[in-house]
Symmetry: C2
Subunit: 230 residues, 2 copies
């Protein structure tokens, strides 16, 4: 299963917020070492499944590099993408025993895989770890609520929101390198690829963005985009 056994990436910073560690509770420091032992970085090629819907949720995943998506396919073939995960993001957190979405690598990706049972055991003795797990669920909830608000908007509002959101997450010197395809964006926003493409062209014509290549978006005037998002 594990493509590598090197554990160096599984350092103590593998858990968000863990670095604060100003609450020396019992087990917290002792278990930090265990964290390193139980996490392993794995490589997933582009478009390869990380886990399937209804599989046992035995692991948590933290993106090191690349990107991942979670999704669900309805009986008639429509696909809904739940979220995109970029370096630093954690996914695969579940309340029940099974994954409710499937997950795939959007691009070639390195992902830190953490055993859930070990996390649970850790949380049972360390309130801070338990709190972090709760926070992760809470952040997913906020993301899902924002997603709901996105899906009631018009096509141009959805696409503008998406561009701005990605800009906040991965902007680098005025540009965004989109890891995902138009189909991915469409399935996230509940639109067709044609509509996504038309909206981007529209934004380009309005001088809000530039598209040197399909995946590269230059932000030329984000005020125009912000005025569109309702």
């Amino acid at each position: 299963m594990l493509t590598e056994t090197t554990l160096q990436a599984a350092s103590s910073d593998c858990w968000p917020g863990r670095a604060t560690g100003n609450e020396p509770s019992v087990g917290s420091l002792a278990m930090a070492g265990a964290l390193e032992l139980m996490g392993a970085p794995m490589s997933f090629p582009r478009n390869v499944e990380i886990y399937g819907e209804q599989e046992p949720a035995d692991y948590l995943y933290k993106v090191i590099s690349g990107a991942a998506r979670t999704y669900k396919v309805l009986i008639d073939g429509r696909r809904q993408i739940g979220a995109f995960y970029l370096p630093g993001d954690v996914f695969g957190v579940e309340i029940g025993d099974e994954h409710t979405f499937s997950a795939e690598a959007v691009t070639d990706a390195r992902i830190l895989v953490l055993k859930r049972s070990a996390m649970a055991a850790l949380a049972a003795h360390d309130h801070e770890v338990a709190r972090q797990l709760w926070m992760l669920t809470g952040r997913e909830l906020q993301r899902a609520q924002n997603h709901i608000l996105l899906l009631i908007k018009t096509a141009s509002e959805r696409v503008a929101s998406f561009v701005l959101e990605m800009a906040e997450r991965i902007e680098s010197s005025g540009e965004v390198e989109m890891p995902m395809s138009r189909q991915d964006i469409a399935d996230y926003l509940g639109l067709t690829i044609e509509t996504v493409s038309r909206m981007l062209t529209q934004f380009e014509n309005a001088a809000a963005i530039a598209l040197p290549t399909p995946k590269r978006i230059v932000l030329r005037n984000r005020e125009v985009l912000k005025r569109l998002i309702a």
Copy 2:
């Protein structure tokens, strides 16, 4: 603030799953009394605000009778209902310090109001309480994820799903007494009242339901509805 000071409804069963209580951890039993003291049932008339978006999230709410809705209004006036809460449901759980949605009574309602800081203090000493709080967040997440899947479906699929969901939650002898208006349903499903009404008429013509009054839905053939939900 409190319309009544009677605490009788704030018994130890006010917390879901708490009744199992087969983990006599420190503080658990001692704090059970505190729970009674900190929860108070309040009465909210129909359409009255329970809390507003961006207000400090100092309390949790458990519906005793009646119904509540959470919602957000976009700048242009569109309203999105996040969820409906019926007797037994808990709402107002937040990760941050502020409510991200507003809440109102759908009908005259009695709602148990629990101080959040007290819950947090309790959770700090009782893993079971902490787990229950986490579970509440997780259940909200699942609900939000289902809501996302609903919003990418067609109008008839959304309305059929809604009727079936409400039936599961409040069916009584083959009937559902809807507490909310058509506008509420429309704002939950991302449709207009006209479309909701037309779909219900359509289901009635297909002999799937009957509508003796607008708020009363008789389930005549739920297989027809199930076949519609994709």
